[in-house]
C-alpha cells in the first residue's frame, strides 16, 4: 500500500475569525468577543482535520476525523499519569477500535495511519512551536484596530522519566473537551463520588461509568498537585514552609487517601454486587469496566500514599544538609530574584540584551582550532589504519570437570516436584507426603522437607511479576509432625492459583512487589466477564 503523505501539516491560521470581528460598541464587549474568538479557535484544529482529510493521498472520506480527535483528547486526558502522561503508542492503540469501527472494510495499517495522522495533527508536528496560532483583532483603548496572535496547544509532549516522551492535554483542550473545569479539586471529587453512589443504587450504570471516569480525572489532578509539593524540599528546605503548611498538607493528603480508599473500596463492593447480580450482559460489562476504573483510582491513591510517607525522612536529611551549614561570610547574587524574575516580564527585545550579556560571559571559553596546511595535507593523505576486526586470539580455555557433589539427583528433584504438584483444591499434610516419598526413595523425604519449608514463605510478588499461574505454599496450623526422621510442625502443603486479573488494584506501579494473599482453595469464584476468578480481590476487602 502506498504510504500517504503525513507531512501535510500546517499552522492553522483561521483568518475567517479575524475577518468576522466587527467594531464592537465598547471595550468590555470587545474583550468578550476576543475571548469567544479564542475559544472558537481552539476547536478549529478539529474542524480542520475533516476539511483537510480530502487532501490526503487516499480515500479517507469515511473517517470522521473530528470524532477521532476528540476521542484522542479524551484518552490522553484519562491516561495522564501520576508521573508522566499518556504514551504515544498506547493512545494510537486505544484509538484503533474506534477508527476501525468507522471503516470496518479497510485494513489495520490504514486505521493506524489515520489514528497517527490525527494525533500528529493535534500536536501539530510540522510547526516549530508544535502548537497552533490564530489571528484575531481587537480595538485598543485609543480605538485603533490591532491584529493579535493567539498561540495555543491542544496536546503537548512532555518528557517522562528515562527520556521517553509522553502526551498531555493542555488546559485549552480540557476546557474545550470537558467545559468549565475551574472548580475546587477536593469538593469536585467528593461530589463526583457521591453522585456515583446514588447512580449505582438506582442501577443507572451508564451514568455511573461517566461519573467514575470523572472521579478518576479528579484523582489524577489531586495527585499532581501533591507530587509537586513533595519534590520541593529536595532542593531548598526553606523554599517550603515545613513548620505548618507542608505537615498540614501531608496530614490532609493522608486523610484524603485513607478516606478515598475506604470510600472507593465500598463502591467497589457495591459495583461488584451489581456486576454479579446483573442479568443483562450489557450491564455486566459496564459494571466490570467500572470495577477497573475504581481499582485504578485505588492504585493511584496507594501510590500517592507511599510518596507521602517518604516526605518526612527526606525533609530531615535535607535539613541536615542545608539548614545546619555554617552561614557564608559574604552575600551572593540571588540569580533567580535579581535576574531571572525581572527578565521574564520584559519585552523580548530588552530581555535578550540581558541574556546575551549572561551568555557572553557565562558559557566559558573555546580554544579556536588552528591547523597548519602541511599537517592537514599529511593527515588527509595518510591511509586509514586497518583495524583488526577480531582482536587478539583467545587462548584455548583449560577446562576441568568439577565433580558432581549434589546431594540429590535431577531424577529425585523431578519425583519430589511431581509429588508436590497438588491440585489447587486439595492441600495435603507434610506427614502424608513424607510417608509417600519414603516408599519410593529413602533419600527423597529430605528433599521434600526442604521444599516444603521453602514454601512456608512463598515469594508471592516475584511469582506475580514472572506471570506464574500457581505457587506452592505451606502453612503451620499448630499440628505436631509425627515422623521417624523429622520433627517440628506438620505443615499443610498446597498449591495456590494466582489471579493476575486482580493484580492491578494492589500493584505498586512498576515494581508490583506486594500481593495481599493467595487463594485458600475455595473453588468456583465468581462467574464474570473476566476470564479468571477474582478470589484475590475479595480477600483484600
Amino acid at each position: 500500500m502506498r504510504p500517504h503523505n503525513l507531512s501535510v501539516v500546517t499552522v492553522t491560521i483561521p483568518h475567517q475569525h479575524s475577518s468576522a470581528a466587527r467594531p464592537a460598541p465598547g471595550p468590555a464587549a470587545d474583550e468578550g468577543l476576543a475571548r469567544r474568538l479564542k475559544a472558537l479557535a481552539c476547536t478549529a484544529p478539529l474542524h480542520d482535520l475533516d476539511a483537510r482529510k480530502a487532501n490526503l493521498a487516499g480515500e479517507y472520506g469515511v473517517y470522521a476525523m473530528a470524532e477521532v480527535a476528540l476521542a484522542a483528547i479524551d484518552l490522553v486526558t484519562l491516561n495522564m499519569d501520576f508521573d508522566t502522561g499518556a504514551d504515544h503508542d498506547q493512545i494510537i492503540h486505544r484509538l484503533l477500535p474506534r477508527v476501525a469501527a468507522q471503516a470496518p472494510g479497510r485494513d489495520t495499517a490504514e486505521h493506524e495511519r489515520v489514528a497517527r495522522w490525527v494525533l500528529e495533527n493535534l500536536i501539530n508536528v510540522g510547526s516549530v512551536d508544535r502548537g497552533f496560532r490564530a489571528v484575531y483583532g481587537t480595538f485598543g483603548p485609543d480605538g485603533a484596530y490591532v491584529r493579535r496572535d493567539y498561540d495555543f496547544k491542544l496536546i503537548e509532549e512532555v518528557a517522562g522519566s528515562g527520556g521517553s516522551i509522553y502526551l498531555r492535554t493542555t488546559d485549552e483542550a480540557v476546557n474545550v473537551l470537558v467545559g468549565a473545569l475551574d472548580t475546587d479539586v477536593t469538593s469536585a471529587q467528593i461530589a463526583a463520588e457521591v453522585k456515583l453512589e446514588v447512580l449505582i443504587n438506582r442501577g443507572r450504570l451508564a451514568d455511573a461509568q461517566l461519573a467514575a471516569e470523572q472521579a478518576r480525572y479528579r484523582t489524577v489532578q489531586y495527585a499532581e498537585i501533591l507530587r509537586r509539593t513533595l519534590e520541593a524540599t529536595r532542593r531548598n528546605v526553606r523554599a517550603v514552609d515545613w513548620l505548618r503548611t507542608v505537615p498540614d498538607m501531608i496530614a490532609e493528603a493522608l486523610d484524603h487517601v485513607a478516606d478515598r480508599y475506604r470510600h472507593e473500596n465500598a463502591i467497589l463492593t457495591n459495583i461488584r454486587k451489581a456486576r454479579d447480580e446483573a442479568e443483562d450482559p450489557e450491564h455486566k460489562r459496564r459494571a466490570a469496566e467500572l470495577v477497573d476504573i475504581v481499582k485504578d483510582c485505588i492504585r493511584r491513591h496507594t501510590q500517592l500514599q507511599s510518596r507521602l510517607l517518604e516526605a518526612g525522612p527526606l525533609f530531615r536529611a535535607e535539613q541536615d544538609r542545608q539548614a545546619f551549614a555554617a552561614p557564608p561570610s559574604r552575600a551572593g547574587l540571588d540569580l533567580y530574584g535579581q535576574l531571572v524574575a525581572p527578565v521574564l516580564p520584559l519585552p523580548v527585545e530588552h530581555a535578550t540584551r540581558v541574556t546575551d550579556a549572561f551568555f557572553a560571559r557565562g558559557t566559558g571559553l573555546r580554544t579556536p582550532a588552528s591547523v597548519r596546511v602541511i599537517d592537514l595535507v599529511d593527515g588527509l593523505l595518510t591511509p586509514p589504519v586497518e583495524r583488526e576486526h577480531l582482536g587478539a586470539e583467545m587462548p584455548e580455555p583449560d577446562l576441568v570437570a568439577t565433580p558432581d557433589d549434589s546431594r540429590f539427583t535431577d531424577e529425585q528433584l523431578d519425583t519430589a516436584l511431581a509429588l508436590l504438584d497438588l491440585p489447587p483444591d486439595a492441600p495435603r499434610r507434610l506427614s502424608g507426603l513424607l510417608a509417600e516419598a519414603r516408599r519410593t526413595d529413602p533419600e527423597l523425604p529430605y528433599l521434600l522437607a526442604l521444599l516444603a519449608i521453602h514454601a512456608a514463605s512463598p515469594p508471592v510478588g516475584t511469582a506475580y511479576r514472572q506471570g506464574e499461574q500457581r505457587l506452592l505454599f505451606a502453612v503451620d496450623d499448630g499440628t505436631e509432625l509425627d515422623d521417624p526422621e523429622f520433627g517440628g510442625a506438620d505443615l499443610i502443603v498446597g498449591m495456590a492459583r494466582l489471579d493476575h486479573s486482580a493484580r492491578p488494584a494492589f500493584e505498586d506501579r512498576g515494581s508490583g512487589g506486594r500481593a495481599p494473599g493467595f487463594g485458600k482453595g475455595r473453588g468456583g469464584g465468581v462467574p464474570l466477564p473476566q476470564p479468571t476468578t477474582t478470589r484475590t480481590e475479595e480477600q483484600s476487602q
Partner: protein
C-alpha cells in the same frame, strides 16, 4: 581577582623564582605560558596532572611568576578568576578575545531568529539560577549544585505560567501585535515553545525548550563547568568550582549591569527570594524542579 592569600609564605628553595636578580628568563615565560595553556583546558584538574599541580603551586608561592602568568593570560585576552588547587587556573575569555564564544557559532538558528537567541540565553541563565538557588549557594565555595534538564525546563515554564496567570488576573492582553514581535513579553516566547517533542530518530527535538536546555548543559560540560552524574530526568549534572566562579564573578554581574542599564533595579536585601508564600494555601511548585516561584 587572583587569589594571592597565601603568597606571603616564603618560597620553597627547590622552586626557581622568576624574581631572582630581577630577570625573567625565557624558561620562566615558557612555564607561565604553559600554566595558561593548562588553564585553557577547563576539564583538566591539577589533581590529575603533576606538572599542572607544580605550576599552580609555583603561581601561589612565587609572586613574580604569578605576575608573569597573569600577564600572559591578559595578553591572550583572558581574565584570571582564581588560581587554586581545586579550580586550577580558572580563566575566562574577555569580551573580544579569540576564546570567547559567540552566539552565532553556538547556534546557527540563534543568529537569525530573535526568539531562539533569547531562549538560548535564557537557558544558560536558568541553569545558573537552578544550580545556585540561594544567594548563599553562590557565595559558598564548598557548594556543589545539582541540576536536571527537565527540572530546569519545568522551573522556567512554571515561572512563566505564574506571569501568565498574573497578566490574566490583571486583565492584560499579552498577545503581541502581529507587526511588532519584539514587544512580545519574554515569558510568552518561552510558553509558546513546546517543552519537548517526538522525533523520527528518538533524539531530542532541537527546537524544543528541553532541547535548548539540553544543548546548553552539554556545552557547559565541554566548558568544564558541569559534570554529568546520571541520565534521570533528562540528564543530571553537578557543578564544578569553575562554574561557580564564572557565574559569580563574570556572568552574574555582567547581566546585572545590563539590567540596570535598562532601568530595572531589582531591590533585594541579599536573602533568598525563593521562599514559602505568605498564603499557606498557594503552595505552587514546579514539577521535577522542586522550587516555588515568588517574585
Amino acid at each position: 581577582m587572583t587569589d594571592y592569600r597565601e603568597t606571603e609564605a616564603p618560597a620553597q628553595p627547590d622552586v626557581p623564582s622568576a624574581g631572582q636578580g630581577g630577570t625573567i628568563t625565557a624558561a620562566d615565560a615558557a612555564d607561565a605560558a604553559r600554566l595558561v595553556s593548562f588553564g585553557l583546558q577547563p576539564k583538566l584538574l591539577p589533581a590529575r596532572d603533576a606538572e599542572y599541580a607544580d605550576l599552580i603551586r609555583r603561581h601561589r608561592e612565587d609572586p613574580p611568576f604569578a605576575r608573569l602568568a597573569d600577564a600572559v593570560a591578559a595578553g591572550l585576552g583572558l581574565v584570571v578568576l582564581e588560581v587554586s588547587p581545586r579550580a586550577g587556573m580558572a580563566v575566562a575569555a574577555a569580551e573580544d578575545s579569540v576564546f570567547a564564544v559567540r552566539m552565532g557559532d553556538y547556534s546557527r538558528r540563534a543568529a537569525s531568529d530573535a526568539a531562539d537567541r533569547f531562549l538560548h540565553g535564557l537557558a544558560h541563565l536558568a541553569i545558573a539560577a537552578m544550580a545556585f538557588p540561594r544567594p548563599e549557594d553562590l557565595a559558598d565555595d564548598g557548594y556543589i549544585g545539582r541540576i536536571t534538564v527537565n527540572g530546569i525546563e519545568a522551573f522556567v515554564r512554571q515561572a512563566c505560567r505564574r506571569l501568565e496567570e498574573t497578566a490574566d488576573a490583571n486583565g492584560e492582553n499579552t498577545d503581541p501585535a502581529t507587526d511588532a514581535p519584539g514587544l512580545e513579553a519574554a515569558w510568552r516566547v518561552y510558553m509558546r515553545r513546546s517543552a519537548t517533542g517526538a522525533t523520527k530518530d528518538a533524539r531530542r527535538l532541537a527546537g524544543s525548550t528541553t532541547g535548548i536546555i539540553g544543548k546548553a548543559v552539554a556545552f557547559l560540560v565541554e566548558s568544564g563547568f558541569l559534570q554529568r552524574t546520571g541520565d534521570e530526568a533528562g540528564g543530571t549534572y553537578r557543578t564544578t568550582a569553575r562554574y561557580q566562579l564564572q557565574v559569580r564573578d563574570m556572568a552574574g554581574s555582567a547581566a546585572m549591569a545590563e539590567l540596570l542599564e535598562l532601568g530595572i533595579v531589582p531591590v533585594t536585601d541579599g536573602s533568598a527570594t525563593l521562599l514559602p508564600p505568605d498564603d499557606a494555601e498557594a503552595l505552587d511548585l514546579a514539577a521535577d524542579a522542586g522550587l516555588p516561584f515568588h517574585s
